[in-house]
Point group: C2
Chain length 386, copies 2
Amino acid sequence: MTTPTGDQALIKRINTAIVLESILRGAPLSRAQISERTGLNKATVSSLVQDLIDGSLVLETGPGESSGGRKPVMLEFIASAGHAIGIDLGVNYIRGVLMDLQGGIGKELTSSLRSTDPDFVFKELCTIIDKLIASAPSCPYGIVGIGVGVPGLVDGSGSVLFAPNLKWRDVPLERQLSDHYGIPVTIDNEANAGALGEQKHGAGRSIANLVYVSVGIGIGTGLILHKSLYKGTSGFSGEMGHLSVEAHGKPCSCGNRGCWEMYASEQSLLEKAETMGYRDLEQLLLAAEQGKPEVLELFRGIGEYLGIGIANIVNVFNPDAVIIGNRMSQAREWVEGELRQTVIKRAIGFHLRNVQLLFAELGERSAMMGAGEMAISGFFNRLKST
Amino acid sequence: MTTPTGDQALIKRINTAIVLESILRGAPLSRAQISERTGLNKATVSSLVQDLIDGSLVLETGPGESSGGRKPVMLEFIASAGHAIGIDLGVNYIRGVLMDLQGGIGKELTSSLRSTDPDFVFKELCTIIDKLIASAPSCPYGIVGIGVGVPGLVDGSGSVLFAPNLKWRDVPLERQLSDHYGIPVTIDNEANAGALGEQKHGAGRSIANLVYVSVGIGIGTGLILHKSLYKGTSGFSGEMGHLSVEAHGKPCSCGNRGCWEMYASEQSLLEKAETMGYRDLEQLLLAAEQGKPEVLELFRGIGEYLGIGIANIVNVFNPDAVIIGNRMSQAREWVEGELRQTVIKRAIGFHLRNVQLLFAELGERSAMMGAGEMAISGFFNRLKST
DNA sequence: TTAGTTTGTCTATCCAATAAACTAAGTTTT
DNA sequence: AAAACTTAGTTTATTGGATAGACAAACTAA
């Protein structure tokens, strides 16, 4: 209820975070360099660095180059001081990864899912997680958290409110997992996870404001503003797949009409392709490769509608980049041209000026790695508040 | 470049802001009450309050009620310690107001604009502002700032990049005004100003997350998230009037097709009404009053398209409220029914659950008062950083 | 009157950041 | 190689916040 007040501990937390941050960004770094870069006094830096060393987060790695004086002692972040687990829960698969605190990848596992029953899925999740935990080297902070990306609507407390493709409703996955493992668990939408993954390790590295458009069966979107995930006001993210782009178009299961994902998703592509005798995206990609004109035309259509929705997104959020991810990113070659032209035609010039249109670099691993990043950033946030 | 580091001055600024905030919210308040509410030590509160009193921001207003002990000395914020000017610059009018630091209204002026030439408008603005300044009582902080709402796209430095209805391009209004008056000037879009006005003094009082939809000649939107204005990443706000709701609809001057404002603005209403012999909104409102069925049908159509766009907004931002303002709010009686039904039909249930659909309470004064609030919050922000 | 309560101030203490002096350990100049 | 200079990092004394607890002032209730 009361706003947290300021005291000396707050100062120390702030400055410790600044020091740690600068080591994370610029390692290897000496105390003197940190002092210069942050503006903190040398003595202050020395004292805070000592705390970080005592806390097993920073290591002295030996002398550095001198430029005419005493050699500096270089400092590095100990990435392996803790490990996080990232999980991408799909409709018919689970992908999991063990990451160190800098996102370095350890063991990676995939398994297919025969059922989407919540209890069954929970057991499968535990199997994967157990194996990943077992593969982690022992370290001061152990497993610092588990992050999970799910294909559905997630509320602020980590409950999956609604996941049509899993046929889930109100599954309190975060509570279940954290009860079972006794460590912090973060659950979020697959698109949010993907956005974070691409922002940290993929096409969006170091871009502050981006929109990740996950084009799979449906369309999900993840929004990163000022380098952090934007969650809707009640904790769930904007479902831009359900922006209506054809006010009187096809009715959607969400109740609205003409939703974007009715025109630009894999599902919509497959519906059109069915009469031509194609059954999945892989077949269509193959046919496109072979230059089948009717298939190329199909992809152009998807590209156009992707562009229509992306132009809307650009006009509303004016991001630095839009990244197209998930399964449809494989069709880059066949959709990109039409997509770019449509966006250029339709987006407002002011907003268009600086926006980059990119495709996911991490491919199928965006969401999984993003989920791991959620767990890692949870760990750092907890550090800051203690 | 370097993140501001933490020091004792920062603590003091934080805690002073907390104390001031609690007086602003709960006055009259005693030192003891502030200590209890904020969690700050009594001595700390005493010391900070003394600084505020020395700074002419707070006043001891005499003894309060005792509950069996020494009577408390009650404290109040001195609203008249400074004054701000709020301006709503319209296409054919200027509205201006003098406000105290709590938004209390002093002198109010309106004048009509015969030309939209930037130099001419600047002179007219100065005339109004001069009169308002002259009407301000003398006070410790004087005129703390000028806020202006304009019907166009404004960048982070307060330049009007593009205002089609004023026929303006790249007018550095903020610089011009602040050079002329030597006090801080804030320029923003009319819809952003309106959003702030309604959030502080109108239908959105104390609502943390709201979208203000300004329906006039065009459609503008102002977004308030966590009680403060959300600016797009480059400093200008989302132009949701140019969300495309009919992918292959009418071409819009912005380059896109089927923009929302082509279907739900005053302009679009008038275009349809022209063949029926109506020339402005006032005539149409009169005809609706008389029950003319073809006019009622027109308004229902506007209501439906407003609902279509608002459903999109609700799905993306999941706000606590949507407020319809500007000229079309006068047509509430004729559009509200269809609008509500359309939103209920189209918005995703989860998001619909808590959203309120409201109409502006401040009428034509939303933007003007919001502009004043921009200036006031500028003053408080400067206080916090010194 | 007397006891108890509440308000607000005063005092001693704590703690983080800092400047400046200082030690340590190098490089460059002569 | 000695002297002069540079740079890194630590030590010391000081500053300026917040705080707990003691305290005086001012009130109520019995």
